[in-house]
Symmetry: C2
Subunit: 348 residues, 2 copies
Amino acid sequence: MSTIAVDAMGGDHAPGPEVEGAIAAVRERLADVVLVGDEPRLRELVAKHGGLRPGLTIRHATQVITMEDHPSVAAKSKKDSSMRVAFDLAKKGEVKAVVSAGNSGAFMACALFVMKRAVGVDRPAVITTFPSRGGVCALLDMGLNVDCRPQTLAQFAVLGAVFARLRHKKDKPRVGLLSNGEESSKGTDLTRGAHKLLSAAVEKDFEYVGYVEGRDIFSGAIDVVVTDGFTGNIVLKTAEGVGQFVFDVMRQEVTATRLGKLGASLLRGAFTRLKKRVDYAEEGGAPLVGVDGVAVLCHGSSNAKAIKNAIRVAAQLVDAQLPSAVVQSVARHTALWPNDVGSASQGS
Amino acid sequence: MSTIAVDAMGGDHAPGPEVEGAIAAVRERLADVVLVGDEPRLRELVAKHGGLRPGLTIRHATQVITMEDHPSVAAKSKKDSSMRVAFDLAKKGEVKAVVSAGNSGAFMACALFVMKRAVGVDRPAVITTFPSRGGVCALLDMGLNVDCRPQTLAQFAVLGAVFARLRHKKDKPRVGLLSNGEESSKGTDLTRGAHKLLSAAVEKDFEYVGYVEGRDIFSGAIDVVVTDGFTGNIVLKTAEGVGQFVFDVMRQEVTATRLGKLGASLLRGAFTRLKKRVDYAEEGGAPLVGVDGVAVLCHGSSNAKAIKNAIRVAAQLVDAQLPSAVVQSVARHTALWPNDVGSASQGS
């Protein structure tokens, strides 16, 4: 079984959810876990939940990277922070992957600084999984790649396709480029450039379907949606906002009348299944794809279930050998980003 | 009462919804309506719904601008199309506003070509109204302003604020700039430039609250969200996609069991109220703000209710004298887009 380091101090409610999620993961034999953080505090919390057990260990770290810390500065200077130590354990080979609900910028910076980019990758990307009619849809980038070039988006298509193959078992993923309309005349200079690159490619282990719109994420017709990190973040936050809004209004309207409350009690099972099908915590984490290792980023407000599921995702990506699959696929698709050799030094 | 031209041939299901919506609007005395399009066909449809009545007239137009037509070419060359004739009626003063569910690019092109920009306006913008916890939130641009400059977004803030004051009765609208995080270090070169312009302004009839995230659209804390047309379109389509997805899954889960069906029957009233509160057709149309006239764009698949409500919005904006309010507010805020005099000739 793979051993996975969990940054136990990073999330908004840390270390409670991290400890409970790790214990659940070990209990369900998803992975062995090293909890990284303030040892006395972690020991006390673990004791409350039955104590250490085979497969669960604690690794002390004296510092914490907070949400206010400057990402790259903290990643380099807070050498004994729980997040940085978790990545160092991966680098040393003591663990196979890192899971963290901490500062997302510092997470990217640690991954780039400690794990380094995978060979041939320009900009690693964070992939979020959305529920869809067909099951799931992977969207990237949700990370810090705000200013992208067409070549960057073309490579995101390859990274997303690798992920969809390994994680979502799609043999030949259908990949779309997010735009403001399906006609190729739509889009920005960036999307039109990427569209040209992706359309020209021939030997591909994914199917490029062209421009897709925001609603296609949920249609089930697309497996991977590619966009820059700015737009990706706005899509994610908008989707969360709409989902939460619809549930809030539903709760208000349903509980407004006595008949409604009775109806709702009969619908408890249906509502639970609905919640489960649209709940982002079910997937648990968003992997950073394109670094030389496995690193899964969780929502800052992750609960224990989200942490546990993120550990599951990390273990699965370790088993599937994500980093070497990325290197192989990127090498096969260099024709997609012509005249771009040696550009991997840009970005941060 | 204001007279409003309805492009009866533009929508996906035209002219049925246009005719029914117009008849409903006249019946409810929201406005007088001129239906523009194929007269024999419109006459036949109107007859089915009780015939012409005071306040409802038909104006023949021999051509139709389709969704496949090139926007600016069609706007200029199809001089006897229902859409172009509707705008010409507004220009001649025979009607006070135009409502259309047709080709959105051609709609913008007709408005710019026939009505022209309002004095001082660089790029007119399409405003969509989202439901929110606080009531509503206006988002712009949802139109064709894909490549924006910081000055463009700064002016969108002014246009959005005018709209929120006139249509949503917000005395001092809270205006946010859509970004991938609230910290001012986030964003792109475009948003950082616009943020700087908006932050520096002093005399304002709106409150600039800084960066906002996708979920803030629905929080009720913000009245106007400003973004470029590319991102705005993706927000709209994502929100529609999530809403539709949640309702579809809910229907599936609720009807999966006999108990669920019983519960759902008790909840019929609550579901209807929920649907009404999150239904985009309730607002009906998205006004193009910044042209010298009132023009309201409807979703291509608009039903009769959406058309009727769009007529209501148009009539209200006519009464509120939107175009002159825009000119006055833009003149008051020229300090927000420095060194930008005479730039109105750009774009199309």
